[in-house]
């Protein structure tokens, strides 16, 4: 009997060994990741021209996906692995620690080495050595932010990308087309004009900008090379020439012309100058934007009586309505490979204009903004996470940003005057 009993026991053990206990975890929390960027070790006599640590800290904090510990709250400022006491960082409830050293490597050449550590697994996640000249330290800082961001969120960072926008003086007699870092720093004027500038649009390689100039003779669409500053006239047809948008391969431009009576969508090949009319309807069709496949265009149309978003196939001309919720949906942009639609939305007549996102696979519409007024011109970051838009805030035209999920919001600082028409640039490499 004992033997049989033992056999039974063995049998039970072997059965349980096969069917190892599996506990299913079906949800987590989606809050920001605690990270510490330890001040960089620098032994130079003079202060560094840029504080890389500060830039990285503000980049990560602004993204909304991180909560960054202030250096004052750290128990130590290690710069080598041996000096890191993971236990201390766990006590501070930190999940990641970044340490770095910077040294002068010859004349005006800095060498930066940084390491990212996982506090709980106690292992190195990332290490990199970069060199830069003094005027590139800011780029290096954004690049470090990008690397850390991508490692920890699984999404490519956009701190190194740039934004284009239009500024005016209060009297609106003077217009600038400017580009700046995505945090608003290092503004650079691309073009100045006494005419209104509208609708800047980036080429996919980030080397050209298309825009509309409202000259005395009418509106015209130009494409300007950023490196040479040379501008090329693309469209100066009778009536409206507006809303340029580069195709994903950068060879074509979609735009709106009213030469045939009312605004319709056209596509022009920038090298052959071959024109293709895409829409043909007595209602207004405007604000084209390419789908990532390069074969479909989304646009705003008043064909249903009120502005709504539609999608047209360039090949078949088949048109499909995408938005049904709300009395006004316009100026749509796509995010995350075309899964999300971001647009200006008005839920009912008389209600404020808001930026909203719509999940095209689930059909869910979410209003993202609430604190700003007269929200317009949404532009999506290349990683599909953030939307930059123009709005009225304290009686000024400013730029603001909101995440596509609505969780993160911030205002983009601007030096003076009114800022409008933001266009978030592509990845630079």
């Amino acid at each position: 009997m004992m033997i049989r009993f033992i056999w039974l026991c063995l049998l039970l053990v072997s059965v349980s060994a096969k069917a190892e206990l599996t506990i299913e975890i079906t949800q987590g929390i989606a809050s920001s990741i605690p990270i510490s960027i330890v001040p960089m070790q620098w032994q130079g006599a003079t202060e560094l021209p840029e504080s890389i640590g500060d830039i990285v800290r503000s980049d990560l904090e602004r993204s909304g996906h991180f909560s960054v510990l202030s250096p004052d709250d750290m128990l130590s400022h290690p710069s080598e692995l041996e000096d890191i006491y993971f236990r201390d960082w766990r006590l501070l409830k930190q999940e990641y620690v970044v340490i770095a050293q910077i040294k002068l490597n010859g004349q005006d050449q800095y060498q930066i080495r940084y390491q990212l550590f996982d506090v709980f697994n106690e292992r190195e996640v990332l290490t990199q050595t970069l060199t830069a000249k003094a005027n590139q330290l800011r780029d290096i800082a954004h690049r470090i932010s990008d690397e850390i961001y991508e490692q920890l969120t699984g999404i490519r960072g956009v701190f190194s990308t740039r934004i284009a926008y239009v500024t005016t003086n209060p009297k609106r007699t003077h217009f600038n087309l400017a580009i700046a870092d995505s945090d608003g720093a290092r503004e650079k004027i691309v073009m100045t004009s006494k005419y209104s500038i509208f609708s800047p649009a980036w080429s996919p390689d980030g080397k050209r900008l298309a825009y509309v100039l409202l000259e005395d003779s009418g509106s015209k669409v130009y494409v300007q090379d950023l490196a040479t500053g040379k501008k090329q006239l693309v469209s100066a047809n009778k009536g409206i020439n507006s809303a340029p948008a580069f195709s994903p391969d950068g060879n074509k431009l979609a735009l709106v012309l009213s030469k045939d009576g009312n605004p319709e969508i056209y596509v022009v090949d920038l090298t052959t100058r071959h024109w293709l009319r895409v829409t043909n309807h007595y209602a207004i069709d405007t604000e084209p934007n390419w789908m990532p496949d390069g074969e479909h265009i989304i646009f705003t149309s008043g064909r249903a009586g009120k502005p709504q978003i539609y999608r047209v196939s360039l090949e078949s001309g088949y048109i499909e309505r995408l938005t049904f919720e709300g009395s006004y949906n316009a100026r749509a942009r796509l995010a995350q490979d075309g899964r999300f639609l971001v647009m200006v939305h008005q839920s009912a007549k008389g209600e404020p204009f808001r930026i909203a996102s719509m999940d095209l696979t689930r059909g869910l519409l979410q209003i993202l903004t609430s604190d700003t007024f007269l929200d317009e011109s949404p532009s999506v970051s290349p990683n599909g996470v953030m939307v930059m838009y123009a709005a009225k805030y304290n009686k000024r035209s400013i730029l603001a940003a909101v995440s596509v999920d609505g969780d993160v919001k911030f205002l983009v600082p601007s030096k003076s005057g009114d800022v409008r028409e933001p266009a978030w640039g592509p990845y630079l490499n």
Partner: protein
């Protein structure tokens, strides 16, 4: 004449006979039932009670003890078997084989033992017979006990699994790139106090950030709630798998 009155509807013969029969039957039944139920009621619980305690605690601990190290339970276990062998040795001294074969036997026998002790002075056959009888009963009982034990174990496993699930879910910070149908499997290694000593990736989600967040979540918990029963711990919780799916993710 005699038969006639019985079938005659006016006669009381049939009712009288019938009632007499019923009374007789009731009497017989009552008497036999009293006789049958009394011993059963007293016997069965005695056996069950005796063995339930013994089999559950003593038998498995012996097997486990070899694997395990320092634990307060050890002391209890050592205490119990110590006095018992003395009794058993008296009965079976001449037959060494029986002793060798059944080192754990005495623990199970425990209560029925006192009776056989005075009867056979040290007869091999009677001892074996005794054992065989015991074996048959113990066999049935152990099966029943195993089932019961399995039920209780299942309940304990569910309870601890639920606590572990809640703990991990409260600290698992999923990255924004997580998709609702992503899935990964970790194997967790614990010491008997519930502390994590190792985490292994069994099946990656393909998203490094998500994989790392899951491993971190396990380390963040530091100490898991685990059953104090060391057999159950060894069987289910010394190592187990966590299947993680961020099903509430937006993507």
């Amino acid at each position: 004449m005699q038969l006639f009155p019985l079938t005659d509807p006016r006669s009381f013969g049939i009712p009288v006979l019938g009632s007499a029969l019923i009374i007789l039957l009731v009497l017989v039944l009552l008497s036999t039932k009293w006789m049958n139920t009394e011993p059963v009621v007293t016997k069965v619980p005695k056996h069950i009670n005796a063995r339930l305690v013994q089999v559950k605690k003593a038998v498995p601990k012996k097997t486990i003890k070899k694997v395990k190290n320092k634990k307060p339970k050890k002391i209890k276990v050592v205490k119990k078997p110590a006095p018992k062998p003395k009794k058993v040795v008296v009965i079976k001294k001449p037959v060494k084989k029986v002793e060798v074969k059944k080192p754990i036997k005495p623990l199970i026998k425990n209560k029925p033992l006192p009776k056989p002790v005075p009867l056979p002075e040290s007869d091999l056959f009677s001892a074996l017979e005794e054992e065989e009888q015991d074996n048959n009963v113990a066999d049935l009982l152990s099966e029943e006990l195993l089932l019961k034990q399995a039920d209780e174990e299942q309940e304990a496993i569910m309870s601890y699994s639920g606590q572990i699930k809640a703990l991990v879910e409260s600290v698992w910070r999923t990255p924004p790139s997580a998709k609702h149908d992503d899935e990964l499997i970790l194997r967790i290694f614990l010491v008997p106090t519930g502390e994590v000593i190792d985490v292994q990736m069994v099946a990656s989600s393909g998203n490094q950030a998500l994989d790392r967040s899951a491993e971190q979540a396990v380390w963040k918990v530091v100490q898991f709630p685990v059953p104090k029963d060391s057999i159950l711990f060894e069987k289910e919780f010394r190592q187990f798998k966590l299947k993680l799916q961020p099903s509430t993710a937006r993507l």
